[in-house]
Symmetry: C2
Subunit: 180 residues, 2 copies
């Protein structure tokens, strides 16, 4: 990548992070380009879709999340490790307001730039869930797709302003329902 292109790329990312933090994942791409002092088409050149932009912003945290799952798998399976990871995942989905709607759509769309992220979360969750089920601490009624859906729903509930104030309580409630 040419030096000027690289500079634009990283600068757009920095500005995008700020704007999405403030306005949520549905923020105007035009606005981001404007604030980055860059032509709108330049933003599109680097990030051909909203999903691609968000994916780039979330990638680092996704690595943290999957690393955490790998870490937990070194320990013996337990209810705690499943719940801990569940809550970490929900936090991942809470990174920007409204990101859960993007993820839910991407989940069903292999063309989306966020599809791979969804798959990785799903796969990481699956092994933790399977291990917990094997030792009888997690409900056998759930499979990996259910787990992903519950993470997404918990993330959705956390979006301010609606249920934000009881989100922690409800996430805990759902997490405990997965056990037994």
């Amino acid at each position: 990548m040419r030096a000027d292109a690289r500079k634009n790329y990283t600068h757009v990312l920095t500005v995008a992070r700020e704007v999405l933090t403030e306005q949520g994942a549905t923020a105007s791409l035009r606005d981001i380009a404007r604030k980055a002092d860059v032509g709108l088409a330049t933003l599109y050149r680097h990030f051909p879709s909203r999903d691609a932009l968000v994916e780039t912003l979330l990638r680092t945290e996704l690595d943290v999340l999957t690393d955490r799952a790998t870490e937990l798998e070194k320990e013996p399976p337990s209810a705690e490790s499943l719940i801990d990871w569940f809550k970490d995942s929900v936090r991942y989905f809470q990174r920007y307001r409204g990101v859960t709607d993007l993820m839910a759509a991407a989940y069903a769309d292999p063309q989306s730039a966020l599809f791979t992220s969804c798959s990785r979360v799903r796969a990481a969750g699956n092994s933790l869930l399977a291990r917990a089920q094997a030792v009888g601490v997690a409900s056998n009624e759930l499979d990996e797709a259910d787990l992903f859906a519950l993470i997404a729903a918990a993330g959705w509930m956390s979006d301010p302003p609606s249920f934000n104030d009881r989100a922690d309580h409800l996430i805990d409630f759902i997490a405990r329902a997965m056990l037994r």
Copy 2:
């Protein structure tokens, strides 16, 4: 209301119901006006906001829902009655794709035309929940706001195409978690 106004009003509603059924609750209001052969400003005169339009469309079903709650209260409190009503409520939130996002926003906004609907659902759920808790069949960890949030989240999960295929299973899972 003048005869021509009344005719426009009902015709817009008919067309809106079709369009929302097809395209979900975020469908273009312009498109609805166009399909109803009515000026866009005429639609706005009758329904000053998207919420007002959706509220009018949902009102009938809300009455069914609250009537059902009143009905259930005549019987002795039970886990079944709470769960049945929970599922009815989720169905109410599923009436149009994406309506749950509108409801969640309206829940925190007393200015919204949908706020009253939210409150009525919440109140109806509260009495059923309280009765079930009193006889020890529902978890004491939940209050009426939690119940509303869970209904909304369950409705959100049902939006196609993401988790649509396992929505019934997950709604059942959440419903059973509320017991005990």
